[in-house]
Amino acid sequence: MRIRTLEISVGAFMLTGFLALLFLAVQVSGISLERGTGTYTVEARFNDVAGIRPRAKVNMAGVTVGRVTDIRVDSEYAEAILTLEIDSAVRLPTDTGAAIQTEGILGGRYVALLPGVDDDYLAEGDTITYTQSAMVLENLIGDFLINIGGS
């Protein structure tokens, strides 16, 4: 009898541990148990992606519709290539533009999508060509100082 209560309490302890893991996964990290509708990936070429990190948000009209999954550099054209994973419920016209923007003054960088008007839509593996690079504060200050000096 004494052995049984001991085993039950150990079992309850381990169960509580796994429930805690479930709580941390679902309630704290917010992973959803049902599978999403799936995603497709498109690439976007930028002159400068300073401040973008893997898993950065991809927003359209302020709503998160995807994530940055990969950042590479194309050394031939000295351009950065971002791989964007987009929710497949979101369809993007082929003339969609992409810009690197900042959340608030000190916030993280994200990719903003500016949908175009084309009738065709971007498919898996396509490339976004209309892009606007990250605003680098140091460059702006530099330009500003040069302008002041010149006038």
């Binding site: 052995i3 309490s9 893991l21 704290v28 990290s29 917010g30």
Partner: protein, 246 residues
Amino acid sequence: MVETLGRSGIVLFWSVWGVPGRKGLPLLIHQIYQVGVLSLAIIVLSALSIGAVLALQFYTQLHRFGAEETVGLGLSLVLLRELGPVVTALLFAGRAGSAVTAEIGLMKATDQLSSMAMMGVDPLRRIVAPRLWAGFISLPLLALIFSMVAIWGGGIVAVDWLGVDRVSFWAVMQEGTDIWEDVGKGMLKCVVFALVVSWIAVFQGYDAMPTAEGISKATTRTVVLSSIMILALDFVLTLVLYGDFN
């Protein structure tokens, strides 16, 4: 120094090798009860108080910027990445590690270990292995419970008492917390701490001088050495796991 490390390595090797099988299972369950279930009270109480204090501190600072909703995110990141694993491991070393050292040390001092060996029972398999494995299993579970209770306790202070909006408290937390980056890597730390603390505890007991003074010294060494190792390893692990400063 090198000799001690070598001896402890041999003890670790033969104990890990002696993973409790079917026959050793009751021994293992008994030890999980001793080091895991009986540590629950101190873990839960500490978690509640740490969670509540963190929520208060975060709130008073973030309130100045009008960012009270971020209290939840601050709580979850601090607890999952650092305080959950580290505080649980420190409490575990004090509560359970010292007890294991004292128990094994006293068994050695009263010649129980050597009489076991004389009867053909391997004390490393019978005594040391179940305690090592019990610690290794219990500490990560305790850390999970610690983080859950602390976030929950912080939530009560922030939401029900200080009046942070309940929905945004959880939503901001879920937005900023990642299952691998925060929960996974925190657990990885915990597994390392679990191995180190259990190893130190059983080895100090097994290697203690078989006198009253020897046991007292061994118990002290378990707590001091475990604490130092936890804090030092935490820095190294944080550097390795999160040190991607590019």
